[in-house]
């Protein structure tokens, strides 16, 4: 199935959680903010929230700024 991650299409297997998606990019889930279809996914739900075909995922982080 296909999802959109940070504006780019990505093909993934079925039954993938937000946590597994983040790890597939070798990112540390602790430092990533995830939005699924514009809704913030709480960090404690990363393992439980499963991705579905067509989901729009945003992976964000806190960066330097003024």
């Amino acid at each position: 199935m296909k999802i959109i991650v940070n504006g780019s299409e990505k093909s993934i297997e079925k039954n993938i959680s937000v946590s597994e998606l983040i790890k597939s990019y070798s990112l540390d889930p602790k430092s990533v903010i995830a939005l699924k279809d514009e809704e913030v996914v709480p960090k404690e739900s990363f393992l439980d929230v499963m991705l579905e075909d067509g989901n729009k995922i945003e992976l964000l982080s806190i960066v330097g700024g003024g």
Binding site: L60, G64, G66
Partner: protein
């Protein structure tokens, strides 16, 4: 004790620092320590999926208050969205509103800033909006529930200093909220100038980060802001157009 109070919270330091533009994020703990800053701004961005880096938050001392900005927002709605995400992610309920659609001078959009401030203040956010030094915008922000106002000295990142001095002076005179001068401050004497005028605090990022020696510059800003504040509290002596001798005008040797 002369403390800075924002939304009922008290701070010893009147220097707020940014976390952008450093050659390495690993400088941030030392900058924070040397500057004695207690409030630090951060931004929210998409993760670069091709570039792995350590989380910025690992470098920010835990006792420092995070002030997420809404940079990148072009409308009130976008700013509100960024603020809500930052809060949901554990960055607290303070937010620096930045709504900018002008890409050359990065000047803030007052109308959209007021709208975003009203929405977020009603949701319980502590809102510090970045504005042009315009009295009517500032008054509307007071009514909208802002907790401070942050007028610019000159365009963001320009290091051009206090080009809006008269406008900032009017805000200091007329607005009861803390006035935090943000953007454009290029050197410690710029910060001292606005502190002597009675500004409550300064937010410095580029001037420290772009110095060849950011650690020494952080200390210089800390001292300048303390110096300017003390001068304001002491009261500056009256000016005269003519010379007024400091030494006695009698008892000269040739008399």
């Amino acid at each position: 004790m002369d403390l800075l109070t924002i939304a009922g919270e008290q701070f010893n330091s009147r220097l707020l620092t940014g976390s952008g533009k450093y050659s390495s994020d690993s400088l941030i703990p030392q900058i924070t320590s040397i500057s004695q800053s207690q409030i630090i701004t951060v931004a929210l961005r998409r993760v670069n999926l091709d570039l792995k880096s350590k989380s910025l938050l690992d470098y920010i001392p835990k006792e420092t208050k995070l002030l997420p900005n809404t940079s990148g927002a072009r409308t009130a709605d976008e700013a509100v969205k960024i603020a809500r995400i930052a809060k949901a992610c554990g960055c607290g309920n303070w937010v620096k509103i930045e709504v900018i659609s002008d890409n050359k001078y990065l000047l803030p959009d007052g109308y959209e800033t007021i709208k975003a401030t009203e929405i977020l203040a009603n949701e319980g956010f502590i809102v510090l909006p970045y504005i042009n030094g315009d009295l009517y915008t500032a008054r509307s922000l007071v009514d909208a529930g802002a907790s401070a106002v942050m007028p610019l000295g000159s365009p963001i990142g320009s290091n051009r200093g206090i080009r809006c001095q008269e406008m900032i002076k009017i805000l200091i005179d007329q607005i009861k909220l803390p006035i935090i001068v943000d953007a454009g401050i290029g050197k410690p004497s710029d910060a001292a100038l606005v502190m002597e005028m009675g500004a409550d605090a300064c937010l410095i990022n580029t001037a420290i980060a772009s110095s060849p020696n950011p650690l020494l510059m952080a200390e210089a800003f800390k001292l300048a802001i303390q110096s300017g504040r003390k001068a304001y509290l002491a009261g500056i002596g009256a000016q005269n157009n003519n010379a007024v001798a400091s030494s006695p005008l009698t008892g000269f040797l040739h008399e």
